[in-house]
Symmetry: C2
């Protein structure tokens, strides 16, 4: 058993962990371990959107992404996913990860100009960029099983052994190193800055992002049926609630995404990705809102009936970001796209 | 909105509350308010047990209880309840409350001698006494509605206005004044002391007691049916789990009691009463064990479908007691009675 917070990030606490030192989680879980030299990572969501059939520029945009991401200084890992949003637009998201901010900072300016800036040239498409570049003190990960890292964990040296801080409400907070000394309270409110065709969202301190995924590709007949029939519809209902009514619980935006393979076809992986006013708002929804209580209940029933034989893989990554570590930029997007929702709501 | 911790018990914190200062619970709840002069209360459970039909001594025991409780220095409030335990014995519990320990200390010695001591004379009955005498820093209460206090709250001056610390996991801990500066970790393990016919349990520091009750006497047709058909069976299953398998989650003993009226007939009130190794053990079961997740899910569904129109009344009282504030004494009881379970398990 090890702490989710690696030794080199442990500091003298001013705030306590929620569970006692002899706490034993009832089942194992694992976190991403970066080498200590990694001080900061970058999670960059490049999005495009359109309504109806894909416009001709779509192919060019996909080519642009592939080429730009493959260029020197491009992400160490990226994946792609799709969803149809509340306004009926199809959105494609390309999520790219770095573990060296200097490399990103060199790579990013021309990429930004080409995607949402003056050089953007994708007729009929909305494009957007949402970036967090947190310190390693500012985020956490969690995996239900070993062997298939996702998201930022693909860049990690390894997954940990069994960690202590999970399987209780508050474990998410306790896994973020900053929680040892900081309550991570939000400060301020998002606002909009217009710059020609671009709309930027000026964020606030300690906004929270969660990417929470599931991978049912290894499940077989009866387990697959149980996931698709008993769990997925409840998960979808919760995701729809956050998308359509999330503002009532301080969720600014939610996307329930289907992961695509390199040829653009759906895989058997999905993830929810949502922007929250604060970690506390995410905690409250998770713990007590009927929509998440039902998700939790369905997942508990599923996992307790299958036990260690379950082949479903679950993971998430949660970041609480400082204002300086956030960037939101939208071009030709409808006004409920992503963090624009936080302001127009 | 007020804190569950009254101003005269607020101290400079060394431990944080789990929710931010701007937390707003989604529905109201209330706590008992004693006058500031009350420093310590007493919660005394007098029990008797028998198997099969009540022996002749049962009537004498009931008379003894009524007379002894009515004597000078007797409890300000008491109630009675019944259940059949895991060994098939019927148990009657008479729960008595004081808000002045000096008065209790004068009253108690002869009562103790008459019930579990040398002067006890109830042939065919087991008798037992379980007492906590916590400081007002060491326990909390919670009520879903005003107007009908139960348990220790009957002795309070009033119920509070809407309190802040509820409707989130961890609220129970945050309502106990001691949580401001103390993690309430258990220290030691219970052991048995034999004294002739009496068996005492030598307790450990920071044992936890919860009495958690429901009152459906005000419910009408459809709500009553929903409580009895959808909630009560799930509650009962959880209570049965704690009774039969509680040791696996550090619950020493659980009694799911039916409250009786003054003539001994069942009312439309019940409560679960359980002894736990620690507050943390109670927190873990409540938050994550499938049996309580189902109770919570059923209660959430019930309350969210009825909203403020719900007539079901819910309350609880939770104490974390120092060793010096505990007494457990059993005479002619079977060896899985109450806290004896903590040792024989």
């Amino acid at each position: 058993m090890e702490s989710a917070i690696p030794p080199h990030l442990q500091v003298k606490r001013t705030r306590h962990r929620r569970v006692p030192d002899d706490y034993q989680p009832p089942y194992p879980a694992f976190v991403a371990r970066h080498r200590p030299a990694v001080e900061r990572v970058v999670m960059a969501y490049f999005g495009l959107q359109y309504r109806g059939d894909p416009p001709a520029a779509c192919a060019a945009a996909l080519d642009w992404i592939a080429k730009t991401f493959a260029a020197a200084g491009g992400p160490k890992h990226w994946d792609r996913a799709r969803y149809v949003d509340e306004a009926g637009y199809t959105n494609l998201l390309f999520v790219a990860y770095w573990d060296d901010q200097k490399i990103f900072d060199t790579w990013f300016p021309p990429a930004r100009e080409g995607w949402t800036g003056a050089k953007s040239n994708f007729a009929g498409l909305g494009t957007f960029i949402e970036v967090l570049s947190p310190s390693v003190n500012d985020y956490e990960t969690l995996f239900s099983s070993l062997g298939r890292p996702e998201g930022i964990a693909v860049l990690a040296d390894s997954l940990s052994g069994d960690v202590m801080e999970h399987a209780y409400w508050g474990g998410m907070r306790d896994r973020i190193p900053k929680s040892q000394i900081n309550d991570m309270a939000p400060d301020g409110a998002p606002s909009i800055l217009r710059d020609g065709d671009r709309v930027r969202v000026k964020p606030h301190d300690n906004i929270c992002l969660i990417r929470s995924g599931q991978d049912w590709s290894d499940t077989e007949a009866s387990e697959r049926k149980m996931y698709l029939d008993d769990v997925e519809p409840v998960l979808r209902a919760g995701m729809d609630f956050l998308r359509d009514e999330g503002r009532s619980v301080n969720c600014f935006a939610n996307r329930y995404m289907m992961v695509l393979d390199r040829t653009g076809r759906p895989t058997e992986k999905s993830y929810g990705m949502s922007w929250w006013k604060s970690l506390a708002a995410l905690e409250r929804w998770s713990e007590s809102h009927p929509t998440h209580v039902r998700i939790f209940g369905a997942a508990m029933k599923y996992l307790s009936s299958l036990g260690p034989a379950a082949k479903l893989r679950l993971y998430h990554e949660v970041t609480v970001a400082r204002t300086a570590d956030q960037l939101f930029e939208y071009r030709n997007c409808h006004d409920r796209t992503g963090m624009l929702n936080a302001v127009t709501a």
